[in-house]
Amino acid sequence: MGMMKRILLHFLSAAAVLSAVTAAVSCDRFLDITPTGRVIASTGEEYRALLTYEYKYVPEDRGLASFRSDEFVFGRNYTSSEDIASFFDIWTWNDYAQQPTTAQFGWRRYYHAIYISNYIIENQNDISDASAAEISQLVGESYMMRGYMHFLLVNLYSPAYTACRPDTARGIPLQLRADVEQVLKPSSVEAVYRSIVSDMETALSYLNVREWDAEYRYRFSILSAKAILSRVYLYMGNWEKSLEYAQSVITEHGGLVRLNVKGAVMPTRYDSEENLLALEQVMTSLYKGAGRPSMDVFRAYRSGDGRKSVFYNQVTSSSVSLLKGGGNEFSCSIRTAELYLNAAEAAVEMGLKNVAVAYLDSLLETRYSASAWDEYKPEIKVMDLETLRETVREERRLELAFEGHRWFDLRRWDRPAMERTYQEETYTLDENDPRYVIPLPAEVIQANPELGGDFI
């Protein structure tokens, strides 16, 4: 016993020496290091920063898809070998057996934006240091983000709503929870659209910013949400709703930029009167420089059309270069001109000829020189419905050229046959070709084989 006591005594004295040394440093304070650069979002500002990141990296696939439409031509003289390596397979609709260097349409990036949207929606009650209105706006934008990302995905990777049986056609997986462990199956095109519409309508009940100032115009607002809804309903062939939302936006903010005057500004500029949502650049400088506008598009503009000189620069008699796009100042996801065209198209489809003509007039009056318009306006007035439909489609092609609309419009209208020639080789896309739907990237199927099988 005495021995044990002695040991204990010795040992305690040693321990005392030790603790004297270490007590100088308080453990908790020593371990309390605020990491530089890393964060778990908790404040409203931090949640906003999460969403801003997603806004920043929304893929520019509407621009990439433009190569598949009839807008661009590639040529030995002006398309660099690097651009050939990246885009030639896309331009020639070569979806299988691509070069390894071929650019890929996005997938994960969209779902990452969807993840963050879900994360914000799910955690809205835990956001600190923000007013209820700020939180509500953020949640509304998240619903819009989720809806818009699903909308872009379903239009890239599934048949157009109006070109299939939406209830049985394979859509894309719907991701409605911030849960990384789910393995999803694709939903039908109809289910995807139902979710998109529901997200966007829900967003409207949360959003409270009517319009953002120019430098924040990449964010969703009440106006841009309604404008996007007009496009979604148009793609669904729900003409009444499309017209209703287009009308509503035009009533509130229907301004158009006059392109028939000298020194007209590009209407896609982020700070232009027309721009409602400056989110996607669409025609990045990379895409813009890869090819030249097809002369078929350029020649389709009538003489006296102000858009010709605002959108294009004539290089030679047989070649033009594109002025639209090429930088973040031309970011534009939707602008007022589209709403006039959406309204006109919806009205035509509903048989409301006069309504259609009225919307078309309002737009074109700001596009054509006075003399040209005097000539063209009466022509439109007397068109039968079928001719008017063609005119509305043609004006949509010319107005929204190189803004990422053409491929999607072709998909939902006629899916015509197309042909390309490059160095004496001809590449064709048949009418109604299955390649009007872009196949899922191999890595997507590898990561989720559920997506490779047949859709039932």
């Binding site: 321990a15 990141y53 084989p449």
Partner: protein, 1074 residues
């Protein structure tokens, strides 16, 4: 049992037995220090020295001698003189036995009380061969330790594994400890793809010169490593450096001069120019479409407009001009091996000064090493300085200070995105018919080797080499200060403060006239109103990274040691450790750079978007702190039975880790039974030593990169002009259910030494069971993330480690000793959660390195692979995988079932076999290392869908299936126009590399070292006033005995045909001491 105890007690008791007694006392020490626990025997009585090396005993007057013994030392007998009471004894080390104490980094443990599985390797040229870095020295020296060179480049780190793989995702490298200070920065990053192999990289170990190292102790089981906490889950390697010894000043000088012959790439079996031209002609006429405009033949025919004529009419349809141009190609045979590689001559010099007296010792050394790579332009130099002193102040305080400083420079080639500037890679892909220089001496550009269908960029490897540079300068400073204070006879307080400071500057320069720069400028092209051009200024690019990392560790321990009644011995230790690490790096890039004038030009970015793609400056900073408490103790009875235990708590500032995961106690319990001390062993005089030890412990690891929360990093972006905003990027998936990865570890060991240590045997059996192991799992991309860490598996490692040493012949002039170190490891995955989306099978019941492949059944009548279906039929890929648009329509589970298990990529047995002969003053050493019984998945020698005819390849392609060669086992080249489903599957998915024909057996043994040395005889030395002198000649990696590794340079690098080969070298060493 009782009588046994009593008799032992009597034996050990320091009590008088006769009436006339005298007292004797003294101190037992060795050259450097006092010895605790030495056994002092006199007149049938025994006594043990205390912490200060003191003993005292009363013996009978008639006793004539006193003998002192201590393991690892020669037993010394002292004649007792009448009237003298004090006898201080200095013991001499016995070289036949390893050290008396085992250095664990925290403590020095008396080998007689050691309960743990450890191995100690003395570092000297005789024992380990000539190495420039310490990590190379351990190959084959320690049973259960496997080492693989990461690359043949000079200064490349060695990948070391102790007792197999313990973790999948976490760090698998052992913890390195330098004189008690755990080192930071010793982990080797995974270098899987080609681009990473080009990165020049060294770990913090590289700064230490092996000639300053005395020994290395490898701690293997939980009993040894638990004290280190979570970082020691993969074992610990403790470096003990040399220190000064008492005596006159010593000067030691050594040099090693190394010759490395040029690498021979003949084994790669590449096509000759003639064969390549023949192949290109064949492909053209067969209509193989992939990159059809590539290759000199296609280019000649296209230029002459005869492509169609050739396809229609063959060789005979060609004009004379075309024929002679093509025939000229056949006659050009550029020897890429010869012009890209070189033989090299390397040098190393070391000078050390050491000495001391009873109160102070010093050791100073200076070393210089210069290693050149067999790849031209690649090299590595090191300057290192080591200053060390230890001082004694009175009886109770000892202080030591040591400083290690080194400066290293590595030169390598600059790397581009495709890896063509890597000469090893390029030498395999460049065509023999391509001449790098034009007749006028200007560069000829290779347009074939670019990995693209169509490229206009000029590439020439010699131009690239001349106009670019990749240089890394490393500086390292480590300082360790320790103090030891004795408080009374039984308590010792020690404190050690260690500082490690590493920094490096990496400068990567690409001149204007390089492919890398041309490519960079092409990517930075912008469509200005007046046309397309690059926005980067004329000139080159200089990228510099400067990195600093600093750590300090301060540990304080109190140790208590006492023996009671000569029977019981108790040791207790309690300690605390604080650790703080900080690292930062700055990256910057200058464009328009001119390396002669050191000037650069501003970049005028056309848009903010393009500016954000070219960040000119980046900075990182990471700071972490740790607090740990630990304790251990042991109780020894009669120097025969020892039980011990240790425990450690680690706390850290880990960010985003739930509080409950911050602390996990790690512990071990262990025991030792020294059988040779038992009385029943008394009769077996031929047994010198026999002992058994056992331990059990728990180790753990947490994945620091995964958090239950969504963790983001701040950044600044501009979305719309003029508006800079803060964003938080979150590219790491959160995982709320992630738990600690735990490994329980059991060890049973037996060691035996017989016939005056002529044969020694050390056998260890171990069992390690890991639960909740963490691995990266691919996530469905719809999650928004590509992968996440999950607790996915349980795994066990069971193995034997056998070390046998024998003195086969021991004559006056001749001795022959043999050492065999053998490690046998069986690894098995006990449970594995296969992700729902995985198409690769579960390894449950198989080793972690399990390789699965599709069983093939030869080729069909069009040369496409046939598979054995689950029903046993031979089917093609379309039928096997039910392809649609080239993708399988089978569920993931169905796809998993199509694979068959082929074997494991980890060796079943590995180790070393070492023979040493000495005859008079000559010594011959031979070390074989081996890895047996593994499988390797090799890279297919060509892709059937995307073989690029612009590049050279292995001769296998000549033996592919064609209509004229239907007997081949290698598939035909496929065209996208035919059998579309299979074509897409083979070109887009990895089916082809998963065929069983790409899995090979691999077993090999390498003669790592063959070394002949001559020591100058004593007589001559004393006439020359020298202490020692030796000259040696060593051949390293002289030969390999292996199973089939055709088409690859080394069996070690069969998986990657682009790795630098393991170099052969011849070394002349001279070592003199004064």
């Amino acid at each position: 049992m009782r009588s046994l105890t009593v008799s032992i007690a009597l034996l050990l008791a320091c009590a008088p037995v006769s009436a006339q007694i005298r007292h004797i006392e003294g101190v037992v020490s060795d050259e450097a220090d006092v010895l605790t626990g030495a056994v002092v025997s006199s007149g049938g009585l025994n006594c043990v020295t205390d912490l200060d090396g003191r003993y005292g005993m009363d013996v009978a007057d008639t006793t004539g001698t006193l003998s002192v013994s201590y393991m690892g030392y020669r037993t010394q007998t002292v004649r007792l003189k009448p009237g003298q009471e004090r006898y201080d004894v200095r013991l001499q080390t016995d070289n036949r036995q390893l050290g008396e104490v085992v250095v664990t980094g925290y403590q020095k443990i008396d080998r007689r009380k050691l309960t743990a599985a450890v191995s100690t390797v003395e570092i000297s040229d005789e024992k380990t061969g000539t190495v420039t870095n310490i990590d190379q020295a351990l190959n084959g020296q320690v049973a259960g330790l496997s080492s693989v060179v990461s690359s043949g480049a000079p200064g490349a780190p060695v990948r070391i594994r102790i007792r197999g793989t313990a973790s999948i995702n976490g760090v698998q490298d052992p913890l390195w400890v330098l004189d008690g200070m755990p080192l930071e920065g010793s982990d080797i990053p995974a270098m899987e793809d080609l681009k990473d192999i080009d990165e020049i990289y060294q770990t913090s170990i590289a700064g230490i010169s092996p000639s300053d190292i005395e020994s290395v102790t490898v701690l293997k089981d939980a009993a040894a490593t638990a004290i280190y906490g979570a970082r020691a889950a993969n074992g610990v390697i403790v470096i003990t450096t040399k220190k000064g010894r008492e005596g006159s000043n010593r000067v030691n000088f050594s040099t090693r001069l190394t010759y490395e012959p040029k690498t021979d790439i003949g084994r790669l079996n590449l096509l000759s120019s003639d064969e390549k031209v023949g192949l290109e002609l064949d492909l053209l006429s067969s209509g193989y479409t992939f990159r059809k405009s590539k290759g000199a033949v296609s280019q000649i025919l296209a230029d002459l407009g005869e492509t169609d004529a050739f396809i229609a009419g063959g060789w005979n349809a060609l004009s004379d001009g075309a024929r002679s141009a093509i025939d000229r190609l056949r006659s050009v045979n550029t020897d890429w091996n010869d012009i890209l590689f070189r033989p090299v001559f390397n040098q190393e010099y070391n000078l050390s000064l050491s000495g001391g007296n009873s109160d102070a010792h010093y050791y100073t050394s200076f070393g210089y090493t210069s290693e050149q790579g067999t790849v031209k332009g690649v090299g590595n130099t090191r300057l290192n300085l080591n200053v060390k002193g230890d001082y004694r102040f009175g009886e109770s305080l000892k202080v030591g200070v040591s400083v290690f400083a080194s400066n290293r420079r590595q030169d390598s080639y600059s790397t581009d995105y495709n890896g063509f500037t890597n000469p090893v890679y390029y030498s395999r892909l460049a065509n023999g018919y391509f001449e790098p220089y034009n007749a006028d001496g200007s560069y000829n550009y290779d347009t074939n080797v670019q990995g693209k269908e169509d490229s206009e960029l000029d590439f020439n490897i010699f131009e690239e080499r001349a106009n670019s540079r990749n240089r890394r300068d490393d500086r390292q400073l480590m300082a360790i200060a320790d103090a030891e204070l004795k408080i009374g006879h039984h308590i010792r307080a020690t404190s050690q403060f260690g500082l490690q400071y590493d920094s490096y500057d990496l400068a990567r320069y690409d001149g204007e006239d390089t492919y890398a720069m041309r490519k960079e400028k092409l990517f930075a092209t912008y469509s200005y109103a007046d046309g397309k051009r690059t926005f980067l200024p004329d000139g080159g690019r200089n990228r510099t990274t400067s990195s600093h990392s600093r750590q300090w560790t301060w540990k304080t321990m109190a140790e208590y040691e006492n023996s009671f009644g000569g029977k019981h011995q108790l040791e207790l230790m309690l300690g605390n450790e604080l650790r703080h690490t900080e690292s930062s790096s700055v990256y910057s890039v200058a464009y328009g750079y001119d390396r002669r004038t050191l000037t650069s030009q501003p970049v005028i970015f056309p848009t903010e978007t393009s500016a954000s793609s070219y960040p000119l400056y980046r900075e990182t900073n990471l700071e972490n702190a740790y607090v740990s408490w630990f304790a251990n103790g042991s109780y020894t009875l009669l120097y025969r039975y020892t039980v011990g235990g240790s425990i450690r708590f680690d706390g850290s500032d880990m960010f985003g880790v739930a509080r409950k995961y911050r602390y996990l106690p790690l512990y071990s319990v262990s025991g030792l039974w020294r059988i040779d001390r038992e009385s029943f062993m008394k009769g077996l005089r031929w047994v010198d030593e026999a002992a058994m030890r056992a331990s059990f412990g728990l180790q753990g690891n947490i994945d620091r990169n995964t958090s239950p929360y969504l963790i983001g990093t701040f950044n600044k972006v501009t979305i719309l002009p003029g508006n800079v905003e803060t964003v938080i990027s979150t590219e790491t998936a959160p995982n709320p259910s992630l738990r600690w990865e735990k490994t329980s570890n059991a060890n049973v060991g037996f060691n035996l030494s017989v016939l005056d240590h002529a044969i020694t045997l050390d056998v260890n059996w171990y069992y390690r069971r890991g639960t909740d192991l963490i691995a990266q799992q691919m996530l469905p991309l719809e999650s928004g993330f590509s992968s996440s860490s999950v607790n996915w598996a349980g795994m066990e490692n069971e193995g034997w480690e056998i070390s046998v040493g024998s003195r086969n012949i021991s004559r006056r002039d001749f001795t022959w000793t043999t050492n065999l170190n053998l490690g046998i490891n069986h690894n098995r995955i006990k449970s594995e959660t296969v992700a729902e989306n995985s198409t690769y099978p579960s390894r449950e019941g198989h080793p972690v390195g399990a390789i699965f492949a599709y069983r093939t059944a030869g080729l069909d009548d069009e040369g496409y692979p046939l598979f054995i279906s689950p029903d046993g039929d031979a089917v093609n890929a379309e039928q096997l995988l039910k392809l649609k648009n080239g993708a399988s329509t089978l569920t993931a589970a169905e796809q998993r079932n199509l694979y068959s298990y082929m074997g494991s990529s980890d060796p079943v047995a590995s180790g070393g076999f070492i023979n040493s002969f000495s005859w008079k003053n000559w010594q011959l050493g031979m070390t074989w290392t081996f890895n047996l019984g593994m499988k390797v998945r090799v890279q297919p020698s060509y892709s059937p869908t995307s073989y690029d005819r612009g590049m050279n390849t292995n001769r296998d392609i000549l033996n592919r299936w064609t209509a004229d060669n239907t007997g081949s086992s290698l598939p035909a080249l496929m065209n996208s126009g035919k059998r579309m489903q299979e074509y897409i599957q083979y070109s887009e998915f990895n089916l082809y590399s998963m065929l069983d024909i790409w899995v090979r057996d691999c077993s090999y043994s390498r003669l790592t070292s063959l070394r002949l040395a001559y020591h100058l005889p004593e007589g001559l030395l004393s006439r020359l006033h020298m202490h020692s002198a030796a000259i040696s000649l060593e051949a390293r990696n002289l030969c390999v005995i292996a199973t089939d590794y055709d088409g690859f340079l080394d069996p070690e690098t069969m998986g990657n045909p682009f790795a630098q080969p393991v170099p052969k070298s011849f070394i002349l060493g001279i070592n003199v001491g004064f």
